[in-house]
């Protein structure tokens, strides 16, 4: 792994809010960092284990709504709601993953996809809990305990930089966990799942257990990203977490380079701003272009920008 690039990326992430001073740019920075968490956790499934999940945004949404509702309805502090969001998403991952990961073939991708649809339908129809299509406004800002028993309120309308660093910490932790897993026994078992599951099982690897492990971990991280998103934007709507959002994450991962060390950073950095601009200026044309782009990148960029870069430099996948 090219350590120089990692150092450079880290430096860039740290100084970015100092260089980009306008609120709209800083907004994109926070969203990019949240996407890094989501794509890095998704890539543990797609890139590492070969498990294509098309419902990742649903787990993000479960985390977001769990955290928002816990703080709003139960008065739970942010620092409790954040892990609770991760736990809720992980619980959903456990329920969905257990049956679908036992099956080979396309069951996993289908079930995750349809699970995403179900979550969007539930968030839309369960109006008493989520306010449905009207959306959930007025989510309190995150508060963190500070020295001397005081509290810091992270008002993201006034100051996005502090919140960006909070998200960055979680993003770096997610990337760190991902790289640790890749080098571990679990990571090797998951590569076995990706390359030849039968062979792995024959050699005594309990592939179902490892697949469950990585799926629950990945969905938990998506849940954390949900909580971070909820207390950043202070407004949630079901369509933020619909199947198109799951698609966006898939494409970011694909374009960045699934299974490559820096892919989950490159994809969101390249695409978050583009997607945001397309969605807000011309959603219909944006969706058409997005579909075309998606198909072309599947055809011609199966290992993403990082893959092309490595190819040009004559390097093989590690």
């Amino acid at each position: 792994m090219p350590g120089a690039w990692v150092g450079l990326a880290l430096l860039g992430a740290l100084v970015a809010p100092v260089l980009l001073r306008s609120p709209s740019h800083q907004n994109l920075l926070v969203l990019t960092a949240i996407n890094v968490i989501l794509v890095a956790s998704l890539d543990m499934l797609i890139g590492l284990s070969g498990l294509v999940s098309l419902g990742h945004a649903a787990f993000w949404g479960i985390g977001a709504y769990t955290s928002a509702l816990l703080v709003m309805r139960a008065g739970v502090p942010f620092l409790v709601a954040l892990p609770a969001a991760g736990l809720a998403a992980a619980a959903a991952g456990l329920v969905i993953g257990y049956p679908s990961l036992r099956l080979r073939g396309h069951y996993f991708v289908l079930v995750t996809f349809i699970f995403g649809i179900i979550v969007t339908l539930l968030l839309t129809s369960w109006v008493e809990l989520t306010r449905g299509p009207m959306g959930l406004p007025g989510i309190p800002f995150a508060t963190l305990p500070w020295v001397g028993g005081t509290e810091v309120v992270l008002n993201t309308f006034q100051d996005k930089v502090r919140y960006y660093y909070l998200v960055l910490v979680v993003a770096l932790l997610t990337l760190w966990v991902r790289s640790r897993i890749m080098g571990s026994r679990m990571g090797r078992a998951l590569v076995a799942v990706r390359e030849d599951e039968d062979l792995g099982q024959t050699l005594g690897v309990d592939t179902h257990r490892y697949k469950m492990g990585v799926f629950v971990l990945s969905t938990a991280q998506a849940g954390l990203a949900g909580s971070l998103y909820a207390h950043y934007s202070t407004f949630l709507a079901p369509e933020t977490f619909d199947y198109v959002a799951s698609f966006d994450l898939f494409v970011m991962n694909l374009v960045g380079g699934a299974g490559t060390p820096l892919g989950p950073v490159v994809g969101p950095v390249l695409l978050t701003a583009v997607r945001d601009a397309l969605r807000s200026t011309h959603p219909v044309l944006g969706a058409v272009l997005f579909g075309v782009f998606l198909i072309l990148s599947i055809q011609f960029l199966p290992r993403g920008v990082v893959g092309v870069w490595d190819h040009l430099r004559g390097r093989r996948r590690w």
Binding site: V52, L54, P99, S100, R102, L103, R104, G105, H106, Y107, V109, L110, V111, F113, I114, I117, I118, L121, L122, S125, Y243, V244, F247, F250, V284, L285, A287, V288, F290, G291, V292, L294, I295, I298, Q299, P302
Partner: protein, 294 residues
């Protein structure tokens, strides 16, 4: 909303449910056919249903074509587009593995849906039925002439499909591909051609379903996504790759949906198909009438 629980009302909901089932069944049949042969989950079939509905709308309203000719035109459009789609997008992707074709299929759905939104606008449309308001009535249970026509037409299409798969040479090649792809290749079956045939047949069914339903169910460009998601849940519930499973699954889901909307909660009726699918995945992952992948 309280509904009367008497025989006539229940029979009426049963009839309505069966009618809803025909639309799902035609799309689900195409999906299961493509899936059985090529292991591609072709979500773009939903867009072909939607385009079939629009073809029948513009052919009858602007083109001065009769409704029955419009249905045939919708089927032809669906078949051509599906084969094109299969040849250009999916078959070249086969070497990358099935999950990516699934994503590409959703991409095609997204493209067609938004292109339709652009060209046709977002207004809801309805095609006038050639049968007008005519209806049969037996003991209080009502079946409109159009509903009867759709039920009959669906029956004919299913029979044709069954006979085609069973007795014609291309049909046998399709079944051979589904059962033993390697052996099919060994005896000289051209996979590309059989694959394109599966796409064309499925596209024809989906386009036809769109046109058949267009006089009953108001549609906009988003209808394709709604129909395909349910058809997909039906295919998983009935058993991926199983033709009888698609039909039985469609009937079960449509009836469950109709009765849920009538007696339980209308806002959750859309969830029924997915609920049944999840139950099937836990209890019988190969689906009602399917076989487990090996």
């Amino acid at each position: 909303m309280r509904r009367a629980v008497d025989v006539v009302t229940i029979l009426q909901f049963g009839v309505n449910g069966l009618f809803v089932a025909t639309g799902y069944a035609l799309v689900a049949l195409g999906l299961t056919l493509i899936f059985g042969v090529l292991h591609v989950a072709d979500f773009a079939q939903g867009a072909l249903y939607m385009l079939g509905a629009y073809v029948s709308f513009y052919a009858t309203q602007a083109g001065g074509v009769g409704y029955f000719a419009a249905v045939a035109l919708a089927m032809a459009t669906g078949a051509v587009l599906a084969a094109l789609n299969g040849g250009v997008v999916y078959l070249p992707l086969q070497r990358h593995g099935g999950s990516l074709t699934f994503v590409a299929a959703l991409g095609v759905l997204l493209i067609l849906q938004n292109a339709a939104l652009w060209w046709f606008g977002g207004d809801f449309r309805l095609v006038p039925s050639p049968f007008g308001d005519g209806k049969f009535s037996a003991g209080g249970v009502v079946l409109t002439h159009h509903q009867a026509f759709v039920l009959g037409a669906t029956g004919c299409l299913v029979l044709l499909l069954w006979a085609g798969l069973r007795y014609t040479k291309p049909g046998k090649a399709l079944r051979a591909m589904a059962q033993q792809p390697e052996a099919a290749r060994l005896v000289g079956i051209d996979i590309q051609r059989v694959g394109l045939l599966a796409f064309a047949v499925a596209g024809g069914l989906a386009g036809g379903a769109g046109a058949l339903m267009a006089p009953v169910r108001a549609f906009d460009p988003h209808i394709g996504a709604v129909v395909i998601l349910k058809s997909f849940a039906i295919v998983i519930f009935g058993g991926m790759g199983s033709v009888p499973g698609a039909i039985v699954g469609a009937a079960v889901v449509a009836l469950a949906e109709t009765f849920t909307a009538a007696y339980l909660a209308a806002e959750f009726a859309d969830l029924v198909a997915f609920g049944l699918m999840i139950v099937a995945l836990f209890a019988r992952p190969q689906g009602l009438l399917g076989r487990l992948p090996t």
